[in-house]
């Protein structure tokens, strides 16, 4: 049998299922984003976080506990947060942590791994995800904004220092809509407008990611990856590659990971941690906000870090 056999009907079936599963979460993220845009004044977000930069990053990594968001939605939300004045490093931390450090994902991980050390898997996923997210936040803090953000995002923020912590604020009053005088109806309409705009913008990338994942899902002979399960390093890398290609949602990917019984525990952990932070659709989505070089560096950095951490964990378990 050939390693590649494409059938449009099967592709369509898989493609639709990924879209149907992802659209509601994307829509939720867009609506949150729209509401934030129309109803939350810029300074509110910056005031919510501690003035100490390091503390702000650490706290941002936990915000998913209050504002749970999967990876698709979090990209939309942080784009809005950045424009609203959230420090970029804190926004990056939230973006990476919220698909993992949130109660929905923790619960789904625990449920999916019942019979397979669910407490250990859930705890390790949350802790490793959180630590990686704040590490990336601290690193991002050292990078100039013009090397971090897309050129279309950059003009809407300016770096200024608040207790040695770079924050982004609207460039001028003209770019920031004054919400104080608007009626509720006007704010509502603006939130609808912003939500729709965000939704269509990100849905574009979801469609592309879902299409690529569906080709992989249906046309490629997946028996080819099975022998990789026998070696821990290879199994870790192959599970991460698979997760990257599949572009699953972090709220449900644990069910997929748990089904790979022949793969070692560490490989499944790598699948869960890396995939929620970086996959094929995120590769596109992140570029809505961040520069391509940063996105690729982020991907490579996360890949190396997750491999090393999971290799270390595999020796302990």
């Amino acid at each position: 049998m050939s390693w590649f056999t494409f059938h449009f009907q099967d592709f369509s079936f898989s493609f639709l299922s990924i879209l149907f599963e992802g659209i509601p979460f994307l829509l939720l993220g867009s609506i949150v984003s729209g509401v934030v845009d129309a109803f939350v004044p810029s300074e509110t977000l910056t005031k919510m976080l501690p003035k100490n930069g390091a503390l702000a990053i650490c706290l941002s990594g936990l915000l998913g506990g209050i504002f749970p968001m999967c990876e698709c939605g979090s990209v939309i939300v942080i784009r809005r947060f950045i424009k609203k004045g959230l420090p970029v490093s804190a926004a990056v931390t939230y973006m990476l942590a919220s698909p993992i450090v949130n109660p929905i994902v923790a619960l789904s991980t625990f449920t999916a791994f019942r019979g397979q050390s669910p407490w250990v898997m859930m705890s390790l996923r949350v802790v490793v995800g959180y630590l990686l997210a704040i590490t990336v936040g601290f690193i991002s803090r050292q990078i100039p904004l013009d090397r971090l953000l897309q050129s279309n995002i950059l003009p809407s923020v300016q770096g200024r220092t608040r207790t040695s912590f770079k924050i982004s604020t609207p460039v001028d009053a003209g770019n920031e809509i004054d919400l104080s005088g608007d009626t509720f109806w006007k704010k509502l309409m603006r939130s609808v407008q912003a939500a729709t705009s965000d939704f269509l913008d990100v849905a574009f990338f979801l469609v592309i990611g879902a299409a690529i994942a569906s080709v992989f899902n249906t046309a490629v002979d997946q028996q080819l990856i099975r022998p990789l399960a026998t070696s821990v390093p290879l199994s870790i890398i192959s599970m991460m590659t698979l997760r990257f290609m599949l572009g699953l949602c972090s709220t449900s990917d644990a069910f997929i990971a748990a089904s790979f019984v022949s793969f070692p525990f560490a490989a499944k952990l790598a699948f869960l941690v890396f995939g929620a932070m970086f996959d094929l659709k995120l590769l596109f989505l992140y570029q809505l906000v961040f520069r391509r070089k940063y996105v690729f560096a982020l991907g490579i950095g996360l890949l190396v870090a997750v491999v090393l951490i999971c290799l270390q964990i595999s020796t302990q378990l």
Binding site: K83, V207, L248
Partner: protein
């Protein structure tokens, strides 16, 4: 032109997506695509998008006002051809997929995914202790659920319930089971013994068997096992041994009636149904197992 891009195309896109979501939900086709837990979200998302589209129709808005300061030139390209391409990608693939998609995978995709014929390949729920997790539940309404408690009975404290009390029967008196039930049964004697030599009835798709099939009378009865959505569904199969070579087209839906045996092959017990009757049938109300 500006009005088309800022008002009517977003409106049409939202409307089309909403229509597709709602059509799949109300026509029942969403059952083939998503796990029951995710289906209500399809309805909600469809309605919300319909509402958003209606907002664009009745309360004209200008997405450009948004794009000016935030969307700039990513997917919403500032140039006309870029915007057209964006809406083309947003509209055409999903419309084409909705039009041409079937309600199940074909043989080549199933083969690509690898047919699971061992419960270990599904989930590590069967342990080597007397305490056994129940078979994964199925929402297949066409075949009443086998009640799994008989598999999870604590053998040290109470005797196993008679199998005939726990598993529903057809009007012909056959035990109605699912493919996954037999896969789990093959792994654990507490499930295996009560089922051994019982006459069972199952529905699935016909797939040829290419291993250990010298006389050509063996084939596989296969169902897709879904965790979240069809993209993660994997084929699970049980071996059927007929009196003659299997009739019917590959991947056609069939009903098999036969006695269950658990011979040792390749050092492990496997489930084989010695079929006394194989007939074509309609697909079940829910083609996926969960």
């Amino acid at each position: 032109m500006k009005k088309i891009f800022s008002r009517w195309l977003p409106c049409a896109t939202l409307g089309a997506w909403s229509a597709i979501l709602l059509f799949f939900y109300f026509s029942g086709r969403v059952k083939d695509l998503l796990h029951p837990a995710f289906r209500p979200y399809t309805l909600i998302a469809g309605l919300v998008m319909l509402l958003l589209a209606a907002c664009f129709v009745f309360f004209p808005m200008n997405l450009d006002a948004c794009a000016d300061d935030e969307l700039a030139a990513k997917s919403f390209g500032r140039k006309t051809y870029g915007r057209l391409l964006t809406f083309f990608i947003l509209l055409v693939p999903i419309c084409a997929a909705a039009t041409f998609s079937t309600n199940s995978y074909g043989l080549s995709t199933m083969m690509n995914r690898g047919v699971v014929d061992d419960a270990q390949g599904l989930k590590a729920q069967v342990k080597s202790t007397p305490y056994v997790e129940p078979p994964l539940p199925s929402n297949d309404k066409s075949q009443p659920q086998s009640q799994p408690q008989y598999a999870g009975v604590d053998q040290t404290s109470q005797p196993p319930a008679p199998v005939e009390d726990e598993i529903p029967r057809s009007k012909d008196g056959n035990l109605i089971v699912q493919v996954v039930d037999l896969l789990y049964a093959a792994q654990d004697s507490t499930m295996r013994d009560p089922l051994k030599n019982q006459t069972v009835e199952m529905i699935g798709q016909l797939m040829p068997d290419t291993v250990n099939n010298a006389n050509g009378k063996r084939f596989k009865l296969v169902r897709m096992f879904m965790v979240c959505c069809a993209a993660d569904a994997r084929p699970v199969a049980v071996l059927i041994e007929g009196k003659t070579k299997p009739q019917g087209e590959e991947m056609s839906w069939i009903k098999v009636v036969g006695k269950v045996e658990f011979p040792i092959e390749n050092g492990r017990p496997i489930a084989v149904v010695k079929a006394s009757k194989v007939v074509a049938t309609d697909p079940p109300a829910e083609t996926m197992l969960y």
